[in-house]
Symmetry: C2
Subunit: 224 residues, 2 copies
DNA sequence: ATCGATAACATTGTATACAAACATTACAAA
DNA sequence: TTTGTAATGTTTGTATACAATGTTATCGAT
């Protein structure tokens, strides 16, 4: 694994685990210092993250952790509905016993993280569950695209997290239901469960309320 | 528009118009010479194209125009079915009269290019038609993803073009039928027409026949 | 005190230099 | 003729230097 990939992985994980939060400035010098490399390789990583839309590069201004707008958030969730419905149809066809056991194991991990109240771990594990389904579906293009959408969803969660935490517990049950549908090879049910799961995620967010700061920031989009 | 973007556009166009063909070596020095810039900016462009999977970067070996495998080709076409079905559902909902007129104009251009026998122009225009639909659908994420898939489809066309050219003429009619369905706001028909259109494209390719060279090359995948 | 202009500073954009990896060629041995 | 090895040359990977741009601070005018 090359130098770039290692740094990329570390930054990507930090993003998924919500240790890097939207709006954070990603200075080339500072990152180079931290990882012990020159700006050249940092830039390469930042450009990759920018292409995946989890980082935003403003010309001559620098790189920042992306701050998805409500519109982008809706786009991402809708794209996920489209893509993951397609994925589910393939999963039901291709899923082996081994795959199902793996999914069940992942579900257990999720439950454990919720028990312990480790929210950011759960967001990360929840993403892994969806990515596992994509891997089972066997379409590399859709899998890669979903990776982008899932990581962006993680940022969206940070920005538009609903105050009421109670609603999140269901997500785990929803994953369990999806596994059941797959086990029964019930394509229609699997797809519709996935769709309502994604709907539920979107409803958890408060996308139209309460701009986080004063109107001017929301309108002209300065980075915090 | 920055320097990178200009060079990117030129290379991307060359790719879509099939002037850059799969397997072509993209030397940093040569490209830098051609565009009058240093390797730094060339590398940036190559990395972007690599992320869009139309260019393949082999570590310490350099960049090449991607040579999609039959498996990748099938993945891309399947991903397109999933994504463009979703897009069509939105298009039927959002499409304005102006949009339809624009689609009709594009269709006329396509017909003209087929008349003149300008095959590569038609491939490019055909891609534009699909991208126009994506734009109308109003989902930026799906639109960006489809751009990737369409450009990869262009490379796939080059590599797996069927010998019989006769079958290609229908594509234009298929686009016409799709416009009709949109005009009638017939969601079901629009979606199924798009799906069979993409099936038809896939059937045009010969994905399982005739390895281009002897077995050793096919098995170990040297670039020509 | 606020606003505007200017200067000092910091950060990114690009080019280039050097190091490392790879490919090719030439040549010797089997 | 083919295979293995060494030397050469080419290409990419990384660091760094300089230029261009953006940001911030200072200072004077209103």
């Amino acid at each position: 694994m090359s130098q770039d990939d290692q740094i990329y992985s570390q930054m990507f994980s930090a993003l998924l685990e919500q240790r890097l939060t939207p709006g954070t400035k990603l200075s080339e010098d500072v990152l180079g210092e931290i990882f012990g490399v020159s700006r050249t390789v940092v830039r390469k990583v930042l450009q990759r993250l920018a292409h995946e839309k989890v980082v935003c590069i403003l010309p001559n201004r620098g790189a920042f952790v992306a701050e998805p707008t409500p519109e982008e958030a809706r786009d991402v969730l809708e794209a996920r509905r489209v893509v993951e419905a397609g994925i589910m149809r393939n999963v039901v066809k291709h899923c082996s016993q081994t795959d199902i056991r793996r999914l069940e194991a992942m579900l257990k991990e999720e439950e454990a993280s919720i028990e312990k109240g480790e929210h950011s771990t759960w967001v990360s594990l929840s993403g892994d569950f969806h990515m596992a389904l994509a891997a089972i579906s066997g379409n590399k293009s859709l899998e890669d695209f979903l990776r982008e959408l899932v990581s962006r969803t993680s940022l969206i969660h940070v920005q538009y997290q609903s105050k009421k935490i109670g609603t999140q517990n269901c997500s785990c049950e929803e994953h369990a239901d999806i596994i059941d549908a797959i086990r029964d090879a019930d394509e229609g049910r699997a797809v519709s469960l996935m769709l309502s799961h994604l709907d539920a995620i979107e409803e958890t967010l408060n996308l139209d309320g309460d701009k986080p700061e004063s109107d001017l920031y929301a309108i002209f989009g300065g980075s915090k």
